[in-house]
């Protein structure tokens, strides 16, 4: 049961009724006292139990309370209850809103933390990928350089070999020429030049050239 339903508002009819009823009680009480209607009964009670009760006062008191309950309720207590309950409700709403905001903030914080973590992971992954890419590039470049170096080396070796062969051919030609000249002078006779050159070439082919 809510507080709002627990304390019911008193209508103006009930208020007027209570005040009239209270006034009636007071009037009866006054009448009884003024005319001594219950004097004998009061005497009897006092003699019997030693307690002095006046019925006029009793009814007057009841009348005042019957009226006062409603008057105090309507004019003072109900506004007080409404104010207190209104304030309590407002405080509860404020606390509820604050609680919701706190929950929202907590959620936002969690989201931001998650996003930060994701960003960090992404950055880390990107850095790792870049490092790997750089390493791959480095390897590729090194392999390329190695390959080119090998090519240059092979080319150089080939050129060296070609130059060596050319030099050897020139040298052989020169030696042949010198040999022919020497032989011609030694033999002092005309020898068929082409036949001699063939003999020398055959000879030189059998000779192993030492580097």
């Amino acid at each position: 049961m809510s507080q709002e339903t627990a304390i019911k508002k008193t209508g103006s009819g009930a208020l007027v009724g209570s005040v009239l009823l209270g006034a009636a009680f007071i009037a009866i009480g006054w009448f009884i006292t003024a005319n001594g209607v219950t004097t004998n009964t009061e005497h009897s009670i006092q003699e019997a139990v030693g307690i002095h009760i006046e019925f006029g006062k009793l009814l007057g008191t009841i009348g005042i309370f019957v009226a006062m309950f409603k008057v105090a309720d309507v004019f003072f207590l109900t506004p007080l209850f409404e104010a207190i309950h209104g304030r309590t409700s407002e405080l509860e709403n404020t606390f509820s809103e604050a609680e919701n905001l706190r929950a929202e903030m907590t959620q936002l914080k969690a989201d931001y933390e998650k996003r930060i973590t994701e960003t960090e992971n992404s950055a880390r992954e990107q850095i790792q990928a870049q490092i790997k890419e750089a390493q791959d590039l480095k390897k590729e470049l090194m392999a390329d350089a190695q390959r080119k170096a090998e090519e240059y080396k092979t080319q150089a070796m080939s050129e060296i070999d070609t130059e060596k062969r050319k030099t050897l051919t020139d040298l052989r030609l020169h030696v042949t020429t010198l040999s022919l000249q020497a032989t011609e002078k030694l033999l002092s006779e005309n020898v068929d030049n082409d036949r001699n050159r063939k003999i020398i070439d055959d000879f030189l082919a059998t000779v192993e050239v030492k580097n």
């Binding site: 007057g60 004019f75 007080l80």
Partner: protein
């Protein structure tokens, strides 16, 4: 004759009371500070004083209700009283006890202010048995009305007969019924006599102690004034007891099942369970 004594005499001599006691009481008041029992008009004047003070206090408190936070002293005091009475009502009667708060607050304020008035002008409605009995009759009558509303007329009176016993035990049931009816009637006596005895007796005690000074040669020394702190405590305690008993009587007749469960919960949490 000082102003206070004249006032007390005025209260007592407003009309003729039983056996012309007013004049005797009035004469007695001239010698003693404590007032005699007031006449009908005297009582009405005292009640008017009490309710004027109460309405003044409530009106002052009402003036501070339009703010979000209560800053006015009277408003804060009334709020504290409301919270206290609400705790009392809900703790003893249960959640539905909130509807009795206005009545309990009026009782509390009337008795408390009435007792305070007794401290200041040595005359109070609460020192008159007729006034206290009137309050008790309203309280107990309202309890019976609420009991009938909650359980029905038959159910309410059946409740007085105790548990359902076999047919042969009808005399026992009848006896329980009579005892319960007497018990209900005695609630009026209990509520009214306790308050009357404390306030009227307190006044008599002050009067007797004031006479001690004269006996021991220091008539200017009112020993009764030393009772002021304990009388001040009595003002609060009597108001509390009346409201507490009213709440207990209501809880007995407006028994609700959900409150029982609530009461068990309270017990489980070490709180005061409703007194069913």
């Amino acid at each position: 004759m000082d102003l206070l004594t004249r006032f007390n005499m005025l209260l007592a001599s407003g009309t003729e009371t039983v056996g012309g006691e007013a004049a005797e009481h009035g004469a007695e008041a001239a010698h003693h500070v404590v007032a005699p029992l007031p006449s009908f008009y005297g009582l009405m004047v005292l009640i008017a004083i009490v309710f004027l003070v109460m309405i003044g206090f409530l009106a002052s408190a009402k003036g501070g209700l339009n703010k979000k936070f209560f800053t006015k002293t009277t408003t804060k005091l009334l709020e504290q009283l409301f919270v206290f009475i609400e705790g009392l009502a809900v703790g003893i009667i249960g959640a539905h006890g909130r509807k009795y708060i206005p009545m309990m607050m009026v009782f509390w304020l009337t008795i408390f202010i009435g007792n305070l008035v007794a401290l200041l002008i040595h005359a109070s409605p609460t020192s008159d048995l007729s006034f206290n009995l009137g309050m008790a009759l309203i309280a107990v009558g309202y309890v019976q009305f609420e009991g009938m509303k909650a359980n029905g007329v038959v159910g309410h009176f059946r409740h007085f007969a105790g548990p359902k016993l076999p047919l042969a035990m009808i005399p026992i049931t009848l006896m329980i019924f009579i005892i319960e009816i007497i018990s209900e009637t005695m609630k009026n006596v209990s509520l009214s006599l306790r308050l009357y005895g404390n306030i009227y007796g307190g006044g008599e005690a002050v009067k007797a102690m004031n006479n001690l000074g004269a006996q021991y040669g220091v008539p200017w020394l009112n020993f009764g004034d030393f009772l002021f702190p304990i009388k001040l405590l009595t003002c609060v305690v009597q108001a509390l007891i009346f409201c507490l008993l009213f709440a207990v009587y209501l809880s007995l007749v407006t028994h609700h099942e959900e409150d029982h469960e609530e009461g068990h919960d309270h017990s489980a949490h070490g709180e005061t369970a409703p007194a069913h």
